[in-house]
């Protein structure tokens, strides 16, 4: 039982850290760069992608034995497009502000590589529960990455933190007179690529450091075991 729990946990956290779709697999770069201008838009995009990812993963996993292998990609896209259309209509009706912010990138979720990649690589080969969890993990990983990027870009580029205009509430997020000093380049695509590259470098460095720590730990453990063995041998000799 403990083991299966562990496996489910790793399916879930895999998308957030070890193979984060944006920062590790470098998938779905286009919408990432486009919507990460403001934290509000990024959060909305992240939730939208997570929703579509979970729903499509569940659906594809359910139908994985029915869909013929040869037409699987069109079938996946059809399923994904259904959920995206649904989402688009819901957003347009209930959250028009977010709908305007996301613009063309909302319908483009249909061809987002993250969703198609998870459908192809995971959902079409795994049971429903795992697939749903995988979709949730990947979606949260995407949300987290885009949100971090957007917070950095919004802070440096516009001098504000989480400005939003949502269902009648609005918040400018401006910090003091920081907007006067803002580096405009971070709201431009060039700044997006800069932030993206530096973020990937930082994440890679962190994971490299972690691996090194693990290796060192393994080495130390091996030494300890050897030492214990030697001690045992000595005791035996003494005996």
């Amino acid at each position: 039982m403990g083991k299966s729990n562990n496996k489910l946990g790793s399916v879930f956290t895999n998308g957030i850290i070890a193979s984060n779709p944006v920062l590790k697999l470098v998938l779905g770069t286009c919408p990432t760069l486009a919507v990460s201008v403001s934290a509000f838009g990024a959060l909305g995009m992240g939730i939208a992608v997570t929703f579509v990812l979970v729903c499509s993963n569940i659906m594809i996993s359910l139908l994985r034995n029915v869909i013929p292998d040869k037409v699987r990609i069109p079938a996946f896209i059809l399923i994904i497009a259904t959920f995206v259309t649904l989402l688009q209509m819901l957003l347009q009706k209930f959250v028009p502000a977010l709908y305007d912010v996301l613009g063309i990138y909302l319908p483009l979720i249909v061809v987002n590589c993250i969703i198609l990649a998870r459908a192809e690589a995971f959902a079409s080969q795994n049971p429903v529960g795992d697939s749903a969890l995988d979709g949730l993990g990947m979606g949260l990983g995407y949300t987290l990455a885009v949100l971090i990027m957007a917070i950095i870009r919004e802070f440096l580029g516009a001098g504000s933190f989480f400005a939003f205009d949502f269902m009648g509430f609005s918040y400018s997020g401006e910090i003091g007179n920081l907007p006067d000093y803002a580096l405009n380049i971070f709201t431009l695509p060039a700044g997006g690529f800069l932030t993206f590259g530096i973020l990937i470098a930082v994440v890679n460095q962190i994971s490299m450091n972690n691996e090194e720590k693990k290796k060192n730990k393994a080495k130390r453990d091996a030494k300890k075991i050897e030492k214990a063995k030697k001690d045992l041998d000595k005791e035996e000799v003494a005996a």
Partner: protein, 365 residues
């Protein structure tokens, strides 16, 4: 023969080191720096020194944090800071040079592997970054203080001001005037003359690039010391002249346009000091030719057709990024026989027809 030394190649080494080359570049930039102080006052000198110090500081810190060998002694960071400082307007607040230096050294140079591995000229990339980041501050024009009653120490009050300096601003840069005359159809040399452009007493948004004489002295020094490749400035400037003549051939002021384009902007400074960066310019004849002509054409196209009056920095950045591709155009290496393509194709064809014959049963079946 008393001793025989056995060693691996290289057997012939040159006495020149990075440090010496960079020292030459610094010496070559001194006339422009002196001219800047004389024309625009002491504050630009202060900004330039700030640039140099922060460039060296950021390189030192980066090497310390990454636990790499210390590289500040090769003086390349000093050159980057000097060029960046001369490329700033004379009235920017003090955080602009610091942020620019951080970008030039950390992101453009050190993250890509340090000296010789940068993808673009660091100072150039930093200037473009700053222009995109603080467009208002970086495109303001500084008026010369020489010959006016503005004191030599007067711009220091802009050190912490986020508003562009008002009494130092004018819109009459030579290239700005060209933009204006394209629509009205007058002569571009109505309110500036060639002498003022040669001496550098014109308004500019980059203080170091106005004095053509000082830059030419530095450029000739570099050419004489064989520090820079003579082909790059030659091709670049020649292309600008030819292409300007072509574009403005219908106007009756072709000569005036050529003179303004040559002396009025950052062309000379860019051609001698920035386009010739070793790591970001091609070496082969064909590469250098395309590089120089590309620079010239892009500069004139940006100046004539874009919304900005100046295009030197963007064209150098663009051709810097193209350099790895230009280096791939290979000429025949030494000692390799010329390829006879016709013969090669003939042999391939023969081999294939033999195979075909064999497959079809052939004579020997």
């Amino acid at each position: 023969m008393t001793r025989m030394v056995v060693s691996t190649s290289p057997h012939i080494t040159s006495k020149s080191t990075t440090q010496k080359i960079m020292l030459d570049v610094i010496i070559a930039l001194l006339p422009a720096l002196i001219a800047t102080v004389v024309i625009f006052g002491v504050y630009p000198l202060f900004l330039t020194l700030l640039c140099i110090e922060s460039c060296v500081f950021f390189e030192y810190i980066f090497n310390r944090i990454r636990k790499k060998e210390q590289t500040i002694k090769d003086l390349s960071a000093v050159v980057t800071g000097l060029i960046l400082g001369l490329n700033l307007p004379g009235t920017v607040p003090i955080w602009v040079p610091i942020v620019g230096s951080a970008f030039a050294i950390i992101i453009v140079k050190m993250l890509f592997g340090g000296i010789g591995k940068n993808f673009a000229n660091p100072a150039m990339a930093a200037r473009v970054f700053l222009v995109l980041a603080w467009a208002g501050l970086m495109t303001q024009k500084t008026n010369p203080v020489i010959g006016t009653d503005i004191g030599y120490f007067s711009f220091f009050n802009y050190a912490f001001s986020i508003n562009p300096g008002l009494d130092a601003v004018s819109s009459a840069t030579p290239l700005g005037l060209v933009k204006a005359t394209i629509e009205t159809g007058g002569s571009p040399l109505q309110s500036v003359n060639v002498l003022s452009m040669l001496l550098g007493t014109t308004a500019s948004s980059a203080v170091g690039e106005t004095c053509a004489i000082a830059i030419l002295i530095g450029g000739v020094y570099l050419l004489c010391r064989k520090v820079i490749d003579w082909r790059i400035p030659t091709f670049y400037i020649a292309t600008v002249v030819v292409f300007t003549a072509l574009i403005y051939s219908k106007s009756q002021y072709v000569g005036e346009y050529i003179l303004t384009y040559l002396l009025g902007g950052g062309l000379l400074f860019g051609a001698f000091f920035m386009a010739t960066d070793y790591a970001t310019s091609p070496k082969s004849w064909i590469g250098v030719t395309i590089y120089g002509i590309g620079l010239g054409v892009l500069t004139v196209v940006f100046r004539r057709f874009s919304s900005m009056p100046e295009g030197v920095s963007y064209s150098i950045l663009l051709m810097n990024i193209l350099t790895p591709l230009l280096e791939k155009i290979k000429t025949r290496p030494y000692g390799v026989p010329k390829r006879n393509i016709a013969k090669e194709i003939g042999e391939k064809f023969k081999a294939r027809s033999k195979k075909k014959v064999a497959a079809e049963g052939g004579e020997n079946g």
